[in-house]
Symmetry: C2
Subunit: 478 residues, 2 copies
């Protein structure tokens, strides 16, 4: 019997489906029948699924084929299995497995599915260039050395870091040598790594903008950092206040396009925050989440270009391609590289080498540039349409912030934000009020003006949903 | 000028390369010339790279085309750029950018590149089924709903969890509802999440096997857990000792194929460790790293099947396909699901939706089963050849452990391990001694026997390197 088992893997049956069976009970046939019945009864094989051929299973188990044939026949007779000419032996459909029905997917509680999901943060997912991505993936995988499929370097594939260094220097004015770049799975991942590294350096606090996403503040807090807010006005975050904050070793900012208010950090403050970092040894964490998307003029370059040793620069494909790709990057001050790489290695390398190679080729071949340009055109048209429709149908509403990015802020009459958000929800329009992005602490010595507004992600709807979303918006605006 | 800028995105030039420029200086043409010179001088545009067409750049900047043409001409005259019919304007090759040359990739210090890299942990990377993977990816991406490209569920894509639930039940006897499965980027990532969750539950220690990888012990230690070792003998880890350990709330094990000694946990101990977990409320962390690869008989089923509420089951494609895919899974006790999902969400979702969908289709369509079977055949042949060659050329060497997995242990005469590992390195053979996997603490009350041995990963070499690796091995064995 040892011999027949030894030969199993080499037999033609080697190309069937695998099935793990626990044989027990008195005789071989009875034991096999019991084991198969148990597999079907407990739902380990789903109704309708096909069993291995008798030849294949016999070879696997090192038993004679007739033993398997007889066991199958018995279970067909008992109603557990069905056998049909040409379709093989399958688990009977009428058998109800004891496996519990899967629960509904765990939706994030505050993100119910709506007809027009306009939550900020996502581009139009229908625009992901599936065919181009696959074409480029084919080229990238064909060219990849074998060791690309191994565990790899925690910093990320050198092909991608090299392509990004050229791209970021050219498009965003980032001072980006490949060696300063660490690939991560998005801004969230990069910020988590940075939070760990800052904490390990005994940094106690990271200032944040008074408007922003709580998820990033929570992330820093969970790394043991306190997060005092900076007042935000029409010129961006008031970085002069950094000097007055105690125990702050870094500041998290969106200087290119403040999120979500949409203002740019003015030139004076850009210089001032860099000077603060130089004078105190602090770091600027620059979240350049939508730097490619500016519609009225050339985008302002990344702050990082002003002092690469004092800025940690973050970017990703989440806005330019799709969040589901899960690829982002950090451009690091030289002294921070070993700590970030070590922190990343600790939690595994995280990012698929195949996707990294594909994105590298996507960028290097110019397909990425063309995609970004076509998206820029698309989103700019959306914004123009929004402005025009509001001018006609809701002339009291002011569209604020720069002509840039994927979202804008619509100012509402005082005291109406709550009711408009609720009315929008009734229209199937998932939008957030600006209030949800506010973050103040009692002892800040200042107070943000009460501002009623909607944060409106005009990039998210698909083409077919866009007109309906605009119409629904106009119906709920006062 | 505002108008010409407004039209830029719609012009045909929209399909060139993007370039970020900072214009300053006295006049428009001089300012543009200065900015372009700066871009080339600082290496932001690499030598040989192509500049945007004059039409495209003019449209982007909202300047006349002749301004750009003149600026290009001036820089060609200065030697910064070259212009050739049909090839456009490019950065001159002879310009040496000030960007520092990339340093050599950060190789892990103890893993120099050798001729025969036989470090354990990696399969033969040349066998990654690139063409099949791409074919399946094409099918998976064509079928994917748009929302697959969004941020997604922290638990992972339901398509993959459903495919895995069927596969793991069928092949490994795992009790795996899709809802119990959380996708991660490999065992390392899964263990990091589990360590966080255990620490949050105020678990203070996790017992580990006295042979194993220090990287996983370090990971648990960095989560604030102490890691007392369990003695390992020919029947696996001595789980009876768990009752004597203080403050231990979980145990990390490789019950199917102890790593790296290659023994299986005997049936008595399988029951005993589950009873310990039930009696104490403890958890078993089951690392099923190579469960698909058993050559002499059917593999023993996963321990998880004995009590799904007391076992956290870990698996991945790192041995069956390739580590570079960065996809793994955890099958969780019901009560642990919310904590793990929350811990995972905190560090971003990490795993590419595209790769998840591809693997789901790879498994559901049976391609994965066929690949695993063909790998099993391949690795079994390797092992048989190893045993046969050693019988002839090094008859004093005992091959220990089960006929399973990707590695085996070669017992050496007492006192020879260090010199054999060194001799191997001189032959370009990268292998580790068993001593490197030992982990004892002084007060364990026991001592592992002094055992000189090599841990030999016969799966790693490519076909072309295999004969040479075997020959080199025989030359260094005493």
């Amino acid at each position: 019997m040892a011999d027949s088992r030894t030969n199993s893997a080499a037999s033609p049956s080697a190309f069937g489906a695998d099935l793990y069976l626990e044989l027990h009970g008195p005789g071989l046939r009875a034991g096999l029948t019991d084991a198969l019945r148990e597999v079907v009864r407990t739902g380990r094989l789903a109704p309708g699924s096909r069993l291995p051929s008798s030849r294949s299973l016999a070879a696997d188990l090192g038993v004679s084929r007739s033993t398997v044939v007889e066991a199958y026949a018995e279970l067909v007779a008992e109603g557990w299995l069905t056998a049909q000419q040409g379709s093989g032996t399958r688990v009977a459909i009428r058998v109800a497995p004891h496996r519990a029905a899967p629960r509904a997917p765990r939706a994030t509680p505050d993100e119910p599915r709506r007809r027009y999901g306009l939550w900020t943060g996502a581009p139009d997912l229908a625009t992901f260039p599936r065919t181009k991505w696959l074409t480029v993936a084919r080229r990238a995988l064909a060219a990849a050395p074998h060791d690309a499929f191994g565990y790899g370097d925690a910093g990320g594939r050198m092909e991608l870091r090299t392509a990004l260094a050229d791209y970021l220097a050219r498009v965003r004015g980032v001072y980006a040598e490949p060696d300063r770049i660490v690939i991560c799975s998005g801004f969230h991942h990069g910020l988590a790594l940075t939070g760990q590294a800052l904490r390990a350096r005994r940094v106690r606090g990271v200032a944040v903008e008074a408007y922003g996403l709580d998820v990033f503040r929570d992330l820093l807090a969970s790394a043991g950092l306190h997060t005092p807010p900076l007042y935000v006005d029409d010129h961006g975050a008031r970085v002069d206040d950094l000097a007055r904050l105690r125990d702050v070793g870094a500041v998290l900012m969106t200087p290119g396009h403040q999120y979500p208010t949409g203002v740019a950090l003015c030139p004076d403050r850009r210089m001032a925050v860099v000077e603060w970092a130089r004078a105190t040894g602090g770091l600027i964490l620059e979240d350049d989440y939508d730097g490619e998307f500016r519609y009225d003029r050339q985008p302002v370059g990344a702050l990082q270009g002003l002092d690469p040793e004092r800025v940690v620069y973050f970017g990703s494909v989440s806005k330019s391609l799709a969040p589901g790709v899960r690829l982002g990057w950090m451009v690091l001050p030289e002294e921070l590289i070993p700590e970030i790489v070590a922190a990343k290695g600790h939690g595994d390398y995280m990012t698929s080498a195949l996707e990294q190679l594909t994105l590298a080729e996507f960028i290097a071949s110019g397909v990425y540039d063309r995609h970004v340009r076509s998206m820029r055109l698309r989103y700019r048209r959306r914004r123009d349409q929004l402005v025009e429709v509001l001018r006609q149908r809701a002339p009291g509403i002011r569209v604020t912030g720069m002509a840039a990015g994927l979202q804008t802020v619509l100012e509402l009459p005082r005291g109406t934000e709550g009711s408009v958000v609720q009315a929008a929800a009734r229209q199937g329009l998932a939008v957030r009020g600006l209030t949800q992005f506010r973050y103040e602490v009692a002892d800040g010595g200042w107070q943000l003006p009460e501002l009623d507004a909607l944060v409106f992600n005009y990039a998210a709807p698909s083409d077919s949903a866009w007109a309906g979303a605009l119409d629904a918006l106009c119906r709920v605006l006062p």
